[in-house]
Symmetry: C2
Subunit: 137 residues, 2 copies
């Protein structure tokens, strides 16, 4: 079995509450993290809620990054979904951990899109691989 994508679900506990309640800082951190992993950013949307919390998504050529924060619990949920061999989702996970000053992180890596292939073969056609993809709209 080979997978088209991989996804890390990250629970960032014991974060700095001010940082994870600041929509501009969060947007900067997540965009910088995806750039550090050499992902190709296509679009991004971040929103601040009242009285607390931020939600946002970044669509990248290699899939997406999404975040929801609960500053009142010092907690942020982040999903990092990637495909292709060109980027390492753990680069993004570590960048965010350091930036949020999280003292307690729990991560699960999942495989997405499992297909049976002949021994030694690969799932060769990955349209979302960075560098191979043309974005139409």
């Amino acid at each position: 079995m080979k997978a088209l994508g991989r996804q890390i679900l990250v629970e960032y506990y014991d974060c700095d509450a001010d940082i994870i309640n600041d929509v501009a800082q969060i947007e900067n951190i997540l965009l910088s993290a995806t750039r550090a992993a050499k992902a190709s950013i296509i679009s991004h949307n971040f929103h601040k809620f009242s009285p607390h919390g931020v939600s946002g998504t970044i669509v990248i050529a290699e899939s997406h990054v999404a975040i929801h924060t609960w500053p009142e619990y010092n907690y942020a949920a982040v999903d990092i979904f990637t495909c292709g061999e060109t980027i390492d989702p753990w680069t993004i996970q570590e960048y965010i951990k350091d930036s949020f000053l999280s003292k307690n992180v729990s991560s699960i890596e999942m495989k997405r899109g499992l297909f049976k292939v002949a021994p030694g073969e690969e799932l060769l056609f990955k349209p979302k691989d960075a560098g191979k993809v043309n974005i139409l709209n």
Copy 2:
């Protein structure tokens, strides 16, 4: 332990390739699915890739929905992340299944943001609950 959010990771196999390669149809289906679940849509971004595939995210007041499709494998990966008691993520999962004509669906439900609470107590403060939230930007 109580959870702030719940997330369904869905693998839609054996989908109709034309439907899951059509960015306008996918956008309509996912927006209709979130509305059917009475979610509050804040923003959405969908993109078509060349030669195949669509990626998109919808930020909802209750968290997000994200999709990536590989029409050449008749496969779509969808994440449905919700918080609060007002919407049922499975309404969204079923709406998409029917619309993509998927004949083989695999779903996992995860709890996100687990906290210890005293017996009988709830995590009362859920800023992203629909109807309680003010969107600032």
